[in-house]
Symmetry: C2
Subunit: 574 residues, 2 copies
């Protein structure tokens, strides 16, 4: 059932004005989507595989319990990797193929090629049978390893056997070497490797978001594809010599090693969604140019964080309620620096930091592992319910102060303004620094410009919803007709198959909800304008349209999310 | 300056399709507005006074420092009343006039008559000179006393002398008697007297809101015109024998007299805005019929409340953090009962009740006086940032419980639903009880259908803005062109002339902000569609339109507020 519905909802991806190509009846019932890494080089898309795949698909659908076991065991996957791959035998009977050649095979028309452990595979014919649906196309023209590392289900012998049937060559030795990144002497030379599925908005500093359809697949976002928003080069921090300084309290400066942070304070675990203030900025850019990275809808992710409570550490450093008479902010300084030595900085209100229900962490774990370098290794602030920019990574110093952080990012960035305010008239002092974020939701599946076949009879819409300040999302409304009529989506607040935990206490709903609606295709419609809007438990709602909330920095973009989907009538087929 | 601007902004009030009447040039520059008590009997409006008043007005404008001293000293006014009225001498030379006759004089065409201490006055000619502007028309056809009680500035000898010049008769002895309400035996017979300016939405139980333009005149709403939302008859509570019971805590039942509540616990004072969940319901009714009282935009008011903190009382009754392991709600029961003896009831989350920063009061004072009967005498809950319905009046019992209140109003009312949910499909269990309210704002001046003269050159727009949960309003945007372009309003968070207090700590901004914009009239426009929208410090914004937030109970109506105003060109005048 799950698979059938998923299949119905698969949609074709491409630029809005994508060209039509010849379509065969067999694939219409399970259209596929190709991931294009950016709007600049959005890959063209064509279909080539024929009717015979209908049977292959039906057979696979019948016996793919494996898909139901889909889990995200990234690290486990990496560990198991070396043993399971032995089952693929190398043979010299295959031609040597360059990466350049492999890269040209990224469409159904030109074939879908992938590499795996030095082998080159033409999986064009397998695409329609892939139990995980169109996600397989994310790897087109590149390596399978990063994707299989995300999906442990692939670490099974029969999967590898299946792959071996599609082998067409050996990757050239030179290109195998190139797959290990060349390190250079620039400040970004020590940056960690990143998952190739990420859509890169900026390379230095690194800013990237995952494909939306991956995002809504997992309640907990795997760290590898958790959106990355760095302001400066990733610092290399030695855990053994790491020190965290806490200043501004009656006890004087408290300095903690990583070990002390882990052992002197109880470990507290929360699941919290982080969102960049600029998430969905690209929609504001369509109204009028704004300044900032052109984020899509995926500069938001959800993880489980473990660490010491900031409250406990501040108490150990001498905090008492008296302090709140003179100090109102807690400043964070990162260890990441620009060329002048200026560190990244931000602050949060003191009452958020010390409130027992504020749940602010000095986190040293992300999804049960050490925090990865891109996310603040070894220690970052996690300020649940609060804009990503205040969740300072690579945390070096905490200062309890009468003043907000004086950093650029606190004072002259990450603030909201009226749509009429421009760079000539803006007064950054006139607006408060963004802390809690407003109600947000977006559609991850289908994507804008997708095509749904009339024979599918129904369409499945998926997405996420979240609100700042610990306000729980209580409802998501979905419209297929541009907002004229609405239906209520089903929500989930845990991984698929897992029972959700107890409802969070009021004001402590830090994690997003994923949602889904499956609805019949309207009889007469040739196009759907799918819209979503969420409501939180303060009954805050999203604004209808983008222009009235447009602002020069393109932050706080939380209008209804809209995607247009074309319905292809069956009689268009040949 | 203040007066001139006020004069420019005065606008004509009436139904949208109000008839045009002959207009004299002199009054065009300072149009007046007539209050109509409801849409059903919206008073017609005509002008009669001529050019000679231009000079009278100018003279008065020059010397009306009194207007700047306008204050709202209701009770003081009532006390001083008896002495100052002595200056009006009764004389038998005047004819006896019935109230019926007085009531017919409610328009400039038929004359504006008022009564005061048994005298009848034709103040038609004074209207244009009134330093307080068009508000004088609120008393047309009725008694001046309730209005003068609101505005202490009238308690001056020269004001009374001025009035005496307009005397035209004596009110009949019978009607003087009738001015004291006749008490009967129905459950509402002991209801308090209400201010005649209130727009009554329902008489039994009493539900009424003030005229919007009075609302935005005072940062602190005078208790007499504070919106009134009773669910049941007002109970008569004897303060001497009053008892408040606190149950559900380890210490057993704690019972407190009013005296004990006042003396055993420190008095805490907050200024907090209360809003009915149904405020602005009438706008939803225009989209599609909803169930509920047809509130305009004034089911919201702001007062200063004094009382014991609920937190302190719960601690005295045995509350400790252990209790929070088993109890999650604090239930309130009122002393107001229906015919079956069922009391009004509601509950709030325990963490709001016990949080030091929650500021929940067991209030026994409103604006520095005993709480009036309509507002919960002698003790009510004040739950700042939370929907009015949880601020239980005439408080009899507090129960700390694992469960929410089982009352109708908590379980099957005061919840939000999707626009597609109707009375056949609604499942009240599927939505959370409204607690914190979303961001809200509305335009109080001018009113919908008002006429602005081109010669005014500019228009002044006023209103209020507020958000629930202690979220501070940080910006109000105003548009004169239906939302195409926006300007930022000036805000104030205190009475005019008073310096605002220090900014509230984050999450404790309980009071609304009043705002104002004066803008040039657009050169070409014949009509203005004035729109406002507010932003709180979590950057929550109001939705653009009503239909997508429509819900069957007509609650949470917080779309952009829109009023249409006609610009009358000067060449229309004769």
């Amino acid at each position: 059932m799950l698979l059938l519905r998923r299949c119905h909802s698969l949609t074709r991806f491409g630029p809005l004005n994508t060209q039509r190509h010849q379509v065969t009846p067999a694939v219409v019932s399970c259209a596929v989507r190709l991931w294009s890494s950016s709007s600049e080089d959005g890959g063209s898309y064509q279909r080539a595989h024929g009717p015979r795949w209908r049977h292959g698909l039906a057979g696979l659908l019948a016996g793919t319990g494996a898909v139901l076991a889909y889990g995200l065991h990234h690290h486990k996957a990496e560990q198991q990797d070396s043993s399971t791959v032995q089952t693929i035998k190398k043979t010299s009977a295959f031609p040597i193929i360059s990466q350049e050649e492999v890269t040209t095979h990224r469409s159904l028309e030109h074939g879908i090629w992938v590499t795996f452990k030095g082998g080159v595979y033409d999986i064009t014919e397998f695409v329609a049978m892939h139990p995980g649906g169109d996600k397989i196309l994310l790897a087109a023209g590149g390596a399978l390893e990063p994707f299989w590392a995300l999906y442990a289900v692939h670490n099974q012998e029969h999967v590898l056997e299946m792959l071996s049937e599609y082998k067409v060559g050996e990757l050239s030795a030179e290109d195998v070497k190139k797959q290990r990144a060349i390190k250079t002497s620039d400040p970004y030379s020590t940056e960690p490797e990143r998952h190739p599925a990420l859509h890169i908005n900026n390379l230095k500093p690194f800013n990237a978001e995952p494909p939306p359809e991956l995002l809504s697949d997992s309640f907990i976002t795997p760290s590898a594809i958790f959106f990355k928003r760095n302001h400066l080069p990733v610092p290399q921090v030695d855990a053994a010599s790491y020190q965290l300084h806490i200043e501004g309290l009656p006890g004087g400066v408290l300095t903690l090693s990583l070990e002390e942070l882990k052992t002197r304070f109880p470990k507290h675990t929360i699941t919290a969604t982080l969102q960049c203030a600029g998430n969905r900025r690209s929609e504001m850019n369509k109204v009028k140019q704004v300044k900032g990275l052109n984020w899509g809808i995926a500069a938001i992710s959800n993880a489980t964080w473990g660490g010491a409570r900031l409250r406990d550490v501040l108490l150990a450093a001498g905090y008492s309620p008296d302090v709140a008479q003179r100090a109102f902010h807690v400043q964070f300084e990162g260890l990441d620096k620009d060329v002048t030595g200026t560190t990244y900085g931000a602050s949060i209100p003191l009452n958020k930091a010390v409130n027992e229900e504020g749940d602010v962490l000095l986190a040293y774990e992300m999804n049960g592992q050490d925090i990865p370098p891109d996310h603040g290794y070894p220690v970052r602030a996690v300020v649940p319910g609060t804009v990503g920019a205040r969740n300072v990574k690579w945390l070096g110093k905490i200062i309890v102060s009468a003043e907000e952080s004086s950093s650029h990012w606190q004072q002259n960035d990450y603030k909201g303004f009226a749509p009429g305010t421009d760079w000539d008239t803006v007064d950054f002092k006139s607006a408060p620094a963004i802390q809690e974020l407003p109600i947000q939701s977006a559609i991850t599946v289908p994507t804008d410009g997708a095509v749904v076949d009339r024979s599918s009879e129904e369409v499945t819409v998926k997405g996420y919803a979240w609100s700042g300040g610990g306000r729980e999302v209580v409802r998501v409304d979905v419209s297929l007709d541009g907002g004229k009529t609405w239906q209520v989506a089903q929500m989930r607040s845990s991984e698929k198959g897992q029972a959700p935990g107890p409802s969070p206490p009021p004001g402590r709903a830090w994690a997003w909800k994923l949602w889904e609606v499956t609805a019949p295709l309207p009889a007469e419609a040739q196009e759907l304008e799918i819209v979503c809007k969420a409501v939180d438990n303060s009954y805050n709602m999203q604004p209808d349209t983008v222009p009235p909330i447009w602002n020069l920095r393109g932050v706080l973009s939380n209008a209804w999310h809209r995607v247009k989907v074309e319905i292809r009538e069956d009689d268009n087929e040949e």
